[in-house]
Symmetry: C2
Subunit: 242 residues, 2 copies
């Protein structure tokens, strides 16, 4: 009997990887969370999908032919493999962190996770209200990097600070007078970014060292993933130089 | 009689700005290209839209109530102002350039234009095949920065090099052994980026100095706007420090 498929919802204990590359990356990183892999009648198992089936087999993960899964989860029909996984707990480790305050866009969060993984800042704190880390759109935009990071949600920034008081906090704010290029970097650090439309509330300048990426007045701001990516590049470049 | 509206196509001489902020930014930067502004029956002229109507009035741009325009150009219905503009010619000036080789995604191109405008690199060369600079999706993702830059399309990179032989070309390639952090920067420069999926062809290493943004093997690559944004940040930061 085929498994019962539900459209993704925030309060479900499971989520999905849409696509072969993403599903492969998940099984490689976190095989223990994967419940099953769905393929459909159109899936050409001779193509790049073979390696997904192989790694699923190696890890004892069932593969199920289920056309309904694709109708429900990928109605546009450009997807031939779906992975179903149990949402995992991955508490933050001590060290350098990214802190996202009220991020509202799944694609942006995914892009930030991808970049953070690239630069080795693999602990991401999220302050609510916030978009869902496990939303299939977040996972997809991360290109699988979501399975490489630790993530924890906090109700307030105070709750985060209480857990990691030793971290030096750098808040990226358009109103700051401190250019990123001149900031004195101290580890362990937390790079703190606000909402796409509204940025960080003013009081973050009191609880963090505020920093600005200097640019012309021809634009209102850099977009959020761009600001976060440039900040991570600047804070990690000495490490990657070695 | 209301104007005849067509869905956007690459070969039309006109394009559209979808949204009030975008339309305002266009009229502020390039009033001479704007044919007219459309509003619809739902447009609340008491809100942020008032300043669009004001700047249109100041520039003698006709404002037309036209519900059809919104049905055709913004069927999702989250847009209350549309600007119609004639595609403009804005030849590249000598100086520092961004060169996009075969970019395929309108959103990515718009994000790069926004970032380039922010960092003051306002001349963008595009090597075909490539996405359309004037596509409403590109213009929208640029958040209006598309009206601040010069842009020219070239059929080949050779054609571009012939026009600007004095520029030092830096090609961003995953295969390069030269980290961005250590590259010797010489102006005027051209920062050259390849297609989202395939990057730059190998021969670019022969006609440019190749450069790499070093990151971990946990990701295949940074996404294209991110790589371009980090490169621009690194190449312009001494300027913005002053």
């Amino acid at each position: 009997m085929p498994s019962k498929i539900q459209r993704y919802k925030h309060d479900l204990p499971i989520s999905y990887t849409l696509g072969a590359t993403l599903t492969y990356e998940m099984i490689k990183c976190r095989p223990e969370i994967v419940d099953r892999v769905y393929i459909n009648s159109d899936t050409d198992t001779g193509s790049g999908i073979a390696r997904v089936l192989e790694i699923a087999g190696e890890n004892g993960i069932p593969v199920e032919k289920n056309d309904k899964a694709f109708n429900i989860l990928s109605p546009k029909g450009n997807c031939y493999v779906i992975g179903e996984f149990r949402k995992f707990r991955a508490p933050l480790e001590k060290g350098n962190h990214i802190v996202l305050v009220n991020p509202s866009d799944a694609g942006n969060m995914g892009t930030i996770i991808r970049t953070a993984t690239g630069f080795g800042v693999k602990n991401i704190a999220v302050v609510r209200q916030a978009v869902d880390f496990f939303d299939p759109r977040t996972v997809r935009a991360s290109m699988g990097a979501a399975f490489h990071v630790n993530v924890e949600y906090f109700d307030t920034i105070d709750e985060y600070i209480e857990r990691f008081p030793e971290n030096k906090r750098y808040a990226f704010m358009l109103t700051s007078s401190q250019p990123l290029t001149d900031v004195e970097q101290q580890a362990p650090y937390s790079l703190v970014f606000g909402n796409e439309a509204t940025g960080l509330p003013d009081f973050y300048a009191d609880i963090c060292r505020s920093v600005r990426i200097v640019h012309s007045h021809d634009i209102d701001s850099l977009n959020l993933p761009m600001a976060a990516g440039i900040a991570m590049y600047e804070f990690t470049k000495e490490f990657w130089r070695q």
